[in-house]
């Protein structure tokens, strides 16, 4: 197993197009011996070649019908097809929201935290896409950021890079979806950055559905200023590799974050969510619920880290990870981790792994409900319980539509 990024086949295949990747050559390639990658084996990714997609100027006729029908007719759409911006099906101008490309020089100036995949994304992304929401802008429609791919992405790599800045007191709902049709064997390394200014409110839904053969490493970074409120829901239906890193920094006093997710896995699906909630400022709160439902020989990983800085007094932080196993061959690795350096805080965390509850099943059966129907009801209940954390009705029904 190669221990440096430069020694991997992945590096060679990307370096052909991105000469500046050489700078990352000597960074270590994660192995299962690294704590952060203990349960997600990247050796098949390192050993594969994925040539970068060449960006194209898409014409309306290049857009497949299946992509068009995927799009929301009522929302604001920002669409990428196999990595290229699809202007003909995207919404162009919205009052109070600027959408545009950030040139590479600009992207390179943004801070990186040295994490290999994030740095790789910064180097390899052909452009960064910026969504700037003006202060006090209240948008009722859902903003859809759609990364839609198909078989043309086979053996190719994709580096989506999105920056969202929501101005002071703005209110928006955003759905970012990664969707691949016909199961391309692909590598996606995505980066989504969301900044919330004072009192901004962002409801954010992310959907990862790239098919069984995809390898996707996704990073989402959120920074929150004073009294801003961030609510997120991540849906992962797994892939060959699906690693999701979500970092939320509560930098402003009184900020709140509700961070939720669902892994719905079957077959040999693998999904790994690492969340990192950093309480920097006092009086802030975070609430996390991640659930996984696993069938067949699927594997779910959850690592939830909460870090409360010394000055972050009066922090409220709750974290819960619940796993429902529908098969004996499914596997869950869960690790809640609390690091608290302030003394006046309320924090709790927990994890549960279980099978379908026999008493719940029996209760439903004693009411005349057949066993298989009872199982379906309990599975749906397990899912609805976390999906209901998406408070906005249209956003929630959009989510249900996409995951159903």
């Amino acid at each position: 197993m190669g221990s440096l990024f430069g020694e991997t086949k992945l590096f060679t295949s990307l370096n052909a197009a991105h000469k500046s990747l050489v700078a990352l050559e000597s960074l270590p390639w994660p192995s299962v011996r690294d704590d952060a990658w203990k349960y997600t084996d990247l050796s098949s990714l390192g050993g594969s070649a994925f040539s970068p997609v060449s960006e194209r100027d898409l014409k309306a006729k290049d857009i497949p019908e299946a992509l068009k029908s995927f799009l929301s007719p009522t929302g604001i759409n920002i669409v990428f097809y196999n990595g290229s911006y699809a202007g003909s099906v995207s919404s162009l101008s919205i009052e109070g929201i600027e959408i545009g490309l950030l040139n590479k020089a600009g992207a390179d100036n943004l801070p990186l935290d040295g994490f290999l995949f994030q740095t790789m994304n910064a180097v390899c992304a052909p452009f960064a896409y910026v969504i700037n929401i003006h202060p006090k802008k209240v948008e009722d429609r859902i903003l859809h950021i759609v990364h839609w791919n198909d078989k043309k992405l086979d053996h190719k790599s994709l580096f989506p890079r999105i920056f969202i800045r929501s101005g002071a007191r703005s209110i928006v709902k955003i759905v970012e979806s990664f969707f691949s049709k016909d199961e391309p064997t692909s590598f996606i390394n995505s980066m989504t950055d969301i900044q919330l200014e004072d009192r901004a409110l962002v409801e954010f839904v992310q959907v990862f559905r790239n098919g069984k053969k995809s390898m996707h490493v996704a990073s989402t970074r959120v920074t929150q200023k004073k009294e801003s409120s961030f609510r997120s829901f991540q849906f992962l239906d797994g892939g060959n590799i699906l690693r999701n890193d979500l970092k939320v920094q509560l930098n402003g006093e009184g900020a709140s974050a509700s961070v939720n997710g669902l892994h719905q896995l079957k077959g040999k699906d693998h999904a790994d969510s690492h969340t990192f909630i950093e309480h920097v400022a006092p009086n802030a709160s975070s609430d996390q619920l991640y659930k996984a439902i696993l069938d067949d020989a699927s594997h779910s990983v959850f690592h939830g880290r909460v870090y409360v800085h010394k000055d972050a007094q009066q922090t409220n932080s709750y974290q819960l990870n619940k796993n429902l196993l529908l098969s004996r061959d499914a596997r869950v690795d869960t690790k809640p981790q609390l690091e608290i350096f302030a003394d006046d805080v309320k924090c709790s965390h927990g994890a549960a792994i279980g099978q379908m509850d026999d008493e719940e099943l029996f209760y439903l059966q004693t009411r005349g409900i057949a066993k298989d129907e009872a199982v379906r009801m309990l599975v749906k209940g397990f899912i609805d319980d976390v999906v209901s954390r998406v408070k906005d009705d249209t956003l929630r029904s959009e989510l249900v539509k996409m995951v159903g």
Partner: protein, 250 residues
């Protein structure tokens, strides 16, 4: 209606019921009393068909649509559709499953079984609200997940609501009175009494004679160590209340 003969049943290798016999006819209300751990809940679970409990010996016969049948080995949902209802001593919380949808799924499953037409959500909503009125239950419970965030007493009331919706032929009420305040107990007892008629029967498990002032039993049994050790009229409950069980056991 129900005929249990020389029943031996066990759970996880422990013999709990040891030669229990009980016969209940249509129109009757039987009360079962007995010390903690004597097997009252076990009996109710065995009749309802809990898969964890095994019948080792004896018979349980029940008069259902196609004539008298043995309940042994019958799926719990089939028993329920044939009119057997168990009000749980400890009702189960089911997160994520709304009470309204659950009640309707239950009601319609029973309808389908009898070849009757299902009720649509609108009609059903009105139907349930009528039943809730009898039990003086607030409308808000209908939108909550089944038994989740219900107080102990509210859970018990919710059991009787389900009984009212399903209108069973044989209802087993396992300590429905425990956890209820005095007023709630009257309301619940009233709800039960409105369901009582000549064609159905009830088995009321309780520790307190108080409930039996409101739901008047025809027969009172004392269960001890997995067997019925005494059967008499309503006066037996009063005597138990006064003297405890010692005199019956020794």
């Amino acid at each position: 209606m129900l005929n249990i003969k020389d029943l031996y049943a066990s759970v996880e290798g422990n013999q709990i019921l040891k030669g229990l016999s009980l016969s209940v006819k249509a129109g009757e209300v039987h009360a079962i009393m007995g010390p903690n751990g004597s097997g009252k809940s076990t009996l109710s679970k065995v009749v309802a068909g809990h898969p964890q409990y095994t019948v080792d010996r004896g018979s349980i016969d029940y008069e259902m649509s196609g004539g008298v049948k043995s309940l042994i080995g019958m799926a719990p949902e089939t028993r329920a559709r044939e009119g057997i209802f168990l009000a749980f001593q400890y009702p189960v919380e089911i997160p994520g499953v709304p009470t309204s949808g659950f009640l309707r799924a239950s009601y319609n499953a029973v309808c389908r079984h009898h070849g009757l037409e299902e009720m649509d959500p609108m009609d059903f909503d009105g139907f349930v609200r009528e039943k809730m009125k009898i039990l003086e239950m607030d409308d808000k419970y209908i939108d909550r997940a089944v038994n989740v965030d219900f107080s102990g007493g509210e859970k018990k009331r919710n059991e009787i609501l389900q009984m009212a919706v399903l209108n069973p032929r044989l209802a087993l009420l396992d300590e429905t009175d425990s956890g209820l305040d005095v007023d709630s107990m009257k309301i619940v007892a009233h709800g039960v009494n409105t369901l009582r008629n000549k064609r159905n029967a009830m088995i009321v498990i309780t520790h307190y004679q108080r409930l039996l002032n409101y739901i008047k039993p025809d027969v009172v049994h004392v269960l001890y160590q997995g067997r019925i050790v005494k059967t008499a009229g309503p006066e037996l409950a009063l005597e138990v209340e006064e003297r405890g069980y010692d005199w019956l056991i020794k």
